[in-house]
Symmetry: C2
Subunit: 302 residues, 2 copies
């Protein structure tokens, strides 16, 4: 079983996409450079969503053009549709992420498609992308793998066919999203158990939300099962559905702290990581909901 | 293995003892009544510490005299010394908690005694208490079971003799305190493994702090090993060593949410529990650091 962990930082994309306060391309670049300084290497930096719908990420082309390319980073970007693919191909980015979900209501409300339609769209985009980037990396997101905000609980048997179809399509990685942050280890284990009959643990990344404080327990449970790829966002940026202090995304600081204290080397400097998102929090006028972020900063400041 | 969980609410004592803003006896009584309304039954309500040192708990005698005695509650109070025992005996309270630690520096700085002296003091107080309350309940706290703020890591072999001496003294329960909130499951498991040679899991309660977001993962790990008694405080009251939003005590809401979602019936109404500490937070001028607290309140308020 591999001991090396893969940490996928999603702050610049998933962390910012719902924020109303505009963050400049310059601030994003500085943020990404600080993330690289901290030791992180895999960063999902933006989405080629329509700038009309998500003005915050409207600078995707400019951002990618300005990224430092000499730092060993693996940058990826979300591609929601054909139009987004055209823009992605113009930039030359060779890692993309595509999106579907395990619940019909969620795909309907989010991308106005059935799961089957989203998968057909997915296949088409991936095929065109691979024509240009035969060795390009494609991540497939599957959201609502435990519970859907519209349908309630999602059974492992609903998740499995979506995951299997992505695997058969030839994606490089499948990222399972616990979209609303309600799951406990027993549920995640039940899902993993069903999937493991048919798919290697190496193919799967987990994307946990910490909305109810259970994300680290879920990471721990999946680590014990042999999973080594986990998403998180610096400072827990992204998804702040409740009062200040409530969380959406699992904070990368919490993930790194947990792993390092458990004896897993991450190569990430926690102080630099905590400082990386501080200018963004200041621009947003909020503080990070991450307890480790706060503990580390407090220690930094004496 | 028993499935029934014991939840020990420590908010009125551990949650308030370090707060500078005075909370009136009336507010505390209202808080305790709301905790009972939520379904909690075991509450550590105060400490007989000197009112000079901790004015916040200076109303211990009045508070106990005013407690509702017809609600099936199990009230306990911390007794730090001989003088405290005299006051405790005056009130007639039949459940007390005594205190020691696994690190010499911590007992020295906290109670100005060696561990051996604190244990001798402990034995004396328990003996006198049992003369008056032969069937009284005595909890023994052992702090810094994973790490000490002054000495660093504490080995399981340092914890074991303290725990064994308390067990041999005849305490009813030993509560292991992860005082600074740094532990991950691997460490807590290593400690449990060492103790389980010599002591029943039923004798042990765990007191986790959530300062770095690992408390629920630790609870989960100990639940899997068969432990069923856990401390927490409503809203995560107590110990706010860092910025607003950072945590000390594990929030009872987070614990109840985790257990219920894992299929364990707690008998606690989460909405009532989240509302219970709200007036206290308002008096303190802060918001609860508990993610579940915030999620539940946000849902309550539509």
């Amino acid at each position: 079983m591999p001991s090396a962990v893969r940490l996928i930082e999603v702050g610049p994309r998933d962390g910012l996409q719902n924020e109303k306060t505009p963050i400049s391309t310059e601030s994003k670049l500085s943020f990404i450079n600080c993330l690289l300084d901290s030791g992180l290497r895999e960063i999902e930096i933006t989405s080629f969503v329509s700038p009309k719908w998500v003005p915050q990420l409207g600078d995707a082309m400019d951002l990618i053009a300005a990224l430092p390319m000499d730092r060993g980073a693996l940058y990826s970007a979300l591609v929601p549709n054909q139009k987004g693919l055209e823009r992605a191909l113009e930039t030359g980015i060779d890692r993309i992420a595509l999106f579907t979900a395990a619940s019909e209501s969620f795909t309907k409300k989010n991308i106005n498609a059935t799961i089957a339609e989203s998968l057909a769209n997915f296949r088409e985009i991936m095929t065109e992308f691979r024509k240009v980037h035969p060795k390009g990396f494609v991540r497939g997101y599957v959201s609502t793998v435990i519970e859907c905000p519209y349908e309630g609980r999602v059974a492992p048997d609903q998740v499995k066919p979506v995951v299997m179809e992505l695997a058969q399509m030839g994606v490089n990685e499948i990222c399972l999203g616990e979209t609303i942050g309600v799951a406990v280890p027993a549920e995640v284990e039940a899902l993993a158990h069903v999937l493991e009959d048919s798919i290697d643990v190496e193919m799967i990344a987990w994307h946990f939300h910490d909305t109810r404080g259970t994300a680290i327990a879920n990471v721990e449970a999946m680590w014990r099962r042999g999973y080594r790829s986990f998403d998180a966002s610096a400072g827990g940026l992204g998804g702040c559905p409740y009062a200040p202090g409530a969380g959406g995304n699992l904070a990368m600081e919490d993930l790194v702290y947990f792993l390092e204290r458990s004896g897993v080397q991450t190569g990430v400097d926690l102080s630099k990581l905590a400082l990386a998102s501080e200018p963004i929090w200041q621009e947003l006028g909020r503080t990070s909901p991450s307890k480790v972020h706060q503990a580390v900063l407090s220690a930094c400041q004496g």
